[in-house]
Symmetry: C2
Subunit: 224 residues, 2 copies
């Protein structure tokens, strides 16, 4: 267990998959793209990141709908923009993983600052946290829209720390995706990896400071 | 058919999947990750792009091997770095699609400048084009390593055009991936999409100037 002087002041939480269970979204995507939900999710992230590297910022739901239409068309299924939007609509109605709310409450009581930090849009993130019942547990909610660039651009992690008036090294990102932790680490932010579903750390990134099976393990290891 | 004054001076060709058939690589990946070759390829591209957005440049084979280990571990299979490298080794021994060499030869005879432009490493690209028998058909081979950033960063497309002493608008990228054409278009380069396998244009990108089923259709439409 770390010493209290070594405790991060602020915990930044990734939302999709890390705190929220993607199962309803996966089921909706699989109805159109059998076996393809994981590919769709990664394709959405890849295209959002790639457009950003090329100098464009497009909101995640629009990238997700376009990626779904593209993948479906490759399988001989033509979707209208409306059909694609309807298929990804469950993204704002995802339940929290059962360990999320109790662990966040415990960390809050132990005095950690807690902020959401998501590639979702500002409005989408608000809707997600309200639906999942997690909104009251956070001191702040940050969307990449606040910064105009996607994670893992270091500006996002540093920007969130700065708005919470802490140095990057006083913050810790908690996330279930290796690319996210890689960016946080390059931004000077501490990292904890939560193993959700088939997600595992990325071997080329800096080793996460903690690898935990769920958020109650995280709370325990942070002394909460 | 475009007027000759409207013809691009330089054709930039993406290599993996656009000119080369990924089937041997897919088969090798599927042996470890049944049903997961497409997911692996997209994950490799996503992580290469994401690390780049975060300020790091890692060679594609290393990103690909790390992505394979990560995905395999999520399915309960622990691969050594050597096992992962062995699984992606077929990437330098891919056959050209049957339409590639005849169309490139035709375009060459018609006076177009032809250059390879790949996210592969410099050494990997050389090996790929030599194995596939396409090397003699190109005036130049560019790897993203020449520019220190991955496609779709605009510097790659503009850099390749500049080294070939043409303006971006005199060049056309030929590729089978929407994110690649999106970047080229944002860099002021003209675009042609080749439909390989399940690949289709990305609805949020600028519409490609041409969408062709194969490279002989491209040659025909360019008047070669």
């Amino acid at each position: 267990m770390p010493q209290s002087t070594d405790r991060p002041v602020l915990l930044l939480f990734d939302i999709n998959e890390t705190l929220l269970d993607l199962a309803p979204l996966r089921a909706s995507i699989e109805r159109l793209l059998p076996g393809g939900a994981e590919l769709w999710f990664t394709t959405m992230l890849h295209y959002a990141t790639a457009l950003n590297l090329a100098g464009r910022f497009e909101p995640l739901p629009e990238v997700g709908a376009a990626a779904l239409r593209m993948l479906a068309e490759g399988r001989g299924l033509n979707l209208s923009p409306q059909q694609a939007q309807a298929a990804i609509a469950p993204i704002t109605r995802l339940p929290a993983h059962p360990d999320a709310a109790p662990a966040l409450a415990r960390l809050r009581r132990a005095g950690f600052g807690l902020a959401a930090l998501s590639n979702s849009t500002s409005a989408g993130l608000r809707a997600q946290l309200a639906f999942a019942g997690l909104a009251p547990l956070f001191d702040a909610q940050f969307s990449v829209q606040d910064f105009g660039v996607y994670k893992p651009n270091p500006q996002v992690y540093r920007g969130a720390a700065s708005r919470m008036r802490v140095a990057p090294g006083q913050a810790m990102l908690v996330a279930a995706h290796g690319w996210d932790l890689a960016g946080a680490s390059l931004a000077g932010v501490r990292t904890a990896f939560v193993c959700r579903g088939k997600q595992r750390p990325f071997p080329l990134a800096d080793e996460p400071e903690m690898i935990v099976q769920d958020l109650s393990e995280l709370a325990g290891r942070l002394g909460a």
